[in-house]
Amino acid sequence: MDRSLIQRWRSALALLLVPVALGGCGFIPAEDAPTLVSHRAAAGRFPENSRSAIRAALDAGDAALEVDVVLTRDQVPVLSHDAWLDAELCTRADGSALPADEKIRIMDLTYLELINGYRCGGIEDPETPGAEVVEDTHVTLAELLIELIGHPEVTLQLDIKQDPEDTLDANTYAAVILGHWNLANLPNPMYVTAIFPETLRAFEGRQPEITTLRIWPNFPPGSNSTLVGLGNEFTRMFGFQELVQLIEEAEADGIAIAYQVADRGAMEVVRQAGYQTALWTANSEAALEVFCTWPIDYLITDYPERAPCR
């Protein structure tokens, strides 16, 4: 090959390598590691939102717990990811299966009807293989707050599962849940997350000092998560949606983003704008290793023991 051509290619390669060396910003860890949040009280260990999961997480010294809150008909806040009983995870108290084609909403049951009639956690959850299987009744928010006594350093994330169709209204949720929280008078840091802006506005309107994060995007039950993710990726890429705009629209203090649609640059922009950021739900060791270096406040996982930033 022509010697001058080789020389030119060498120069071009050197030119190319300079910004690569200068760049690689994504490999540099953010200044502060995120707080690791045990998703559904670390559903990788015990059934999601269960007594056994909460106790195991507190015993393991987890930094933060995320639980989902739903109100019964008589306005008792209980922990449940769905606003109805999940036929894949719950049974009737006698052990018989729940009808797969019928939605038993928690808002249609009183607390006593719920704990006398139904059990959850006794069926292995395909989303968290290897987790212990423990059948139990629903945990109330009051029970969780009692469990937190003696663990003042543990941050609590209350994910409010209020929605316009299957639950009581947002104002009732805010009044009841904040009532419980204020009554407990715990020193623990706490923040509220929700999908719908109305839910967050109800909490902010009642108690502005409460930290609220908007969950984004919304994966409706039964939807194809890849398609939902792609749709949101494109609307944001073309600039029709923007993270800070989504936060401000909900009058929230930050945003909690699914890792599939997150990017580090956008997280930096959100933080520079003075808002908080959370990422959900990273479970593989490879994903946790990467996201532990991102500029985020909270990293949500079912398996906190797998994260290097623990």
Partner: protein, 158 residues
């Protein structure tokens, strides 16, 4: 007759395909932020790779190029620094980037054209400005790298 007329019009058209960039200098976030997450979420990195693939065309003004990818659309001007054979060589460049015509950033740098290859290095200042939230108060500065392949018609003497 129509085909002859059409082909003669195309031959004299000022807008011509210049290259495809597999690394887009207008989207440095791919190299800096998306490549490092490959291990965590390869599908996401693959998606962002496709989003940043860029097609460039020459415009009637010599040295001016239109660039379009899903992530970014913009204009770049290239001026000769060290001329090479057949219009190749080293160029300085400057450009603006838009998201669906909403300007959000600008970049400057050097481009090196050799054969069917175009390499570029530079720096981009970008805001998060979008139609949903026009805002030029926050800026992010990142080094850029571009790597494209094509006939380099814009650089060739006309």
């Amino acid at each position: 007759m129509l085909a002859l007329l059409g082909s003669s019009m195309l031959a004299s058209a000022p807008v011509q395909f210049d290259r495809i960039d597999i690394l887009n200098e207008q989207v440095p976030t791919f190299l800096h932020y998306d490549v490092p997450t490959t291990k965590a979420y390869p599908l996401g990195t693959a998606m962002r790779f496709v989003e940043q693939l860029n097609v460039s065309f020459t415009l009637p003004v010599r040295g001016l190029y239109a660039n379009a990818s899903l992530r970014s659309q913009g204009l770049t001007y290239e001026g000769t620094l060290l001329p090479g054979a057949n219009g190749r060589g080293l160029f300085w460049m400057a450009g603006i980037s838009t998201r669906l015509l909403m300007p959000y950033g600008a970049q400057v740098g050097l481009a090196y054209r050799v054969g069917f290859v175009r390499l570029s290095v530079g720096v981009q200042a970008a805001s998060g400005s979008t139609w949903a939230r026009p805002n030029w108060n926050q800026w992010q500065v990142l080094p850029t790298v571009g790597l494209g392949f094509g006939p380099n018609v814009g650089a060739a003497p006309r």
